[in-house]
C-alpha cells in the first residue's frame, strides 16, 4: 500500500502524542473506534475558561492513515474555539492527507474523536454548573 508523503510525515513525526489527566475539569476526552475494527483513537483537549482549546493530545491504535488523521486533528484544533473545532470535516482531513478511498474511514474517526472530546468537555462543565 502506498502512503502519501503527508501521511508518512505524520507517522514518522506524530504531533502531540500523549495523555492528559482524564479526570481534570478542563480536559475533554474522546475515545472512538473499536479494537476489533483495527482502529481506536483517543483524543483529548485542554480548554480554557473562555472555551478555547489550549492544547490537544492523542493516542491511536491503527494504521498509518489513522495515526496521521489523529495527529493532524490535534494540530488543527489547537487554538480554536470549541465551536470552530466542531466544524472540522473529515473530508478536509482526507483531502489534506491525500487518503485513498479505503482509508477514508480514518478521517471519519478523527472527526468523531474531536466531536467526542468536545462533547465530553461540555458534559463535564454542564454537570459542574448544575452542582
Amino acid at each position: 500500500m502506498a502512503y502519501s508523503e503527508k501521511v508518512i510525515d505524520h507517522y514518522n513525526n506524530p504531533r502531540n502524542v500523549g495523555s492528559f489527566d482524564k479526570g481534570a475539569d478542563d480536559v475533554g476526552t474522546g475515545l472512538v473506534g473499536a479494537p476489533a475494527c483495527g482502529d481506536v483513537m483517543k483524543l483529548q483537549i485542554k480548554v480554557s475558561a473562555d472555551g478555547v482549546i489550549q492544547d490537544a493530545k492523542f493516542k491511536t491504535f491503527g494504521c498509518g492513515s489513522a495515526i496521521a488523521s489523529s495527529s493532524l486533528a490535534t494540530e488543527w484544533i489547537k487554538g480554536k474555539s470549541l465551536n470552530e473545532a466542531e466544524t472540522i470535516k473529515n473530508t478536509e482531513i482526507a483531502r489534506h492527507l491525500a487518503l485513498p478511498p479505503v482509508k477514508i474511514h480514518c478521517s471519519v474517526l478523527a472527526e468523531d474523536a474531536i466531536k467526542a472530546a468536545i462533547a465530553d468537555y461540555r458534559a463535564k462543565t454542564t454537570a459542574k454548573v448544575a452542582e
Binding site: 502506498a2 506524530p14 483495527g38 494504521c63
Partner: protein, 425 residues
Amino acid sequence: MTTQARVRETPEKKDAAPGRNRPERPIYLDYQATTPMDPRVLEAMIPYFTTKFGNPHSRSHVYGWEAEEGVEKARAQVAHIIGADEREVIFTSGATESNNLALKGVAHFYKDKKNHLVTLVTEHKCVLDSMRHLQEEGFEVTYLPVKQDGLVDLAELEKAITDKTVLVSIMAVNNEIGVIQPLAEIGRLCRKKGAFFHTDCAQAVGKIPLDVEAMNIDLMSISGHKIYGPKGIGALYVRRRPRIRLQALITGGGQERGMRSGTLPTPLCVGLGEACAIAEHEMGEEAKRLTRLRDRFYAQIKEKLPEVYLNGSLESRIPGNLNLSFAYVEGESLILGINDLSVSSGSACTSASLEPSYVLRALGVDEAMAHTSLRIGFGRFTTEEEVDYAVQDIVEHVTKLRDMSPLWEMFQDGVDLKSIKWAAH
C-alpha cells in the same frame, strides 16, 4: 491525484546506531509469499531458452528430443522428492491450477457415483474458491474447523467422511501460520473410508519429508515459486495405482496424458525439477539451520517484548515461519514502521482487504488480536545478521507504537478492554 510516495522512498530518518547499518534493500522475510530463484536453478534453465528451445512434443528432430529429455528429467526429479513414479506427475502453471484441477477434475469425473467433498476452513483461497464453485454446481462440501493450534481434529474428520465422499482436500502446510497437518493419519483415514486424499503441498515440498506411499496421498499440488524455482510452473501428482481419474480443465492437444493440454514450458519445467532436486538434497541441513534462526529470532523477541503471542502450533510447524501477534499494535502501522523489513501482515488476506485473516479467526484469535499480527518467513538466503537486525527493528517500532497506543495505555492501567462498550463503525 496527489503523488503517492512508496513507503520505501521516504524512509524514516533513523540514526544509524553503531553496528546497525541499514540494509541497502529491505530484508526479505516473506518466504511464504514467494522465494527468490536459486541461481543454480536459473543456470539449469538457461540452455532451454536459447539453444535447447525445441517443442518437447516434437518427435521428428533433435530439438524436440532434447527438450523432451529436459522435461522428463524434471518430471523424474519432481516425482523423486515425493516418492512417486514419474508417470504420476503432470505439469501445470502452479499450485492454483493444480488445486483447481484436482478438486474440479475429480469431482466432475466421479459425479455420478459420489457428490461430497471435505476440506478445512483454513485452506488457501484457491481451494476454498474451487469448492464454492463446486457447491454452485450442486456438490456438497463440508468445511471442517481446526483446533486452536491450527490442526485438523481427526475425530471430526472421520465423522465427516461418508460413503458419498469422493475427496478430502487438506493442505500439508498452512501458508499463513506454517502449521503441518498430520498427513499420514489423514491418509490412513481416507484410505480406510474409501475417499481420495488430495493435499496442497505448495508450502510443504522441500520443507518437510513427503512420501505419497507412506502417507496414502492420492493427489498432491506443487508450486515452483515457493521452492526457489520459477513462477508460473507447478505440478499435480495423480496416483496411478489405484488409478485416479480426472476430467481435464484445459483441453486441446492431449498433452500430459490428456489431463492438461498445452505445450510444456520446457525451461520452467526444468527449473521446477532442479528446484526439487536441490531441496531434496539440502532439506535436512536447511531445516536445522532455519530452526536455529527461527528460535534465535523468537527467543530475542520474547525476551525484549511482553505481550507477544504465537499463532498456531509451534511443535507441528515448518521452521521457516512465525506468525506473531504484537498485542496493542496495529499490524499495518507496524509494517509501515519496519520498512527495512519485507514482511506480510498476518491480519489481512490481501492488502486490499481490511478484514482480519480468516485463518487467524479460525484459530479463535479474537479480531482485535488478529489486527496485530505479522507473518515472518525465513528461508534459504536468510542470515543470522538479518535475523538480528529484524529483531532490533521490530522491538524498536513495537515499543514506539505502544507508546502511541491508547490500548496499551489502558492495558498498563489495568483496564479490561473487553469490558468497554466500543462503538462499532
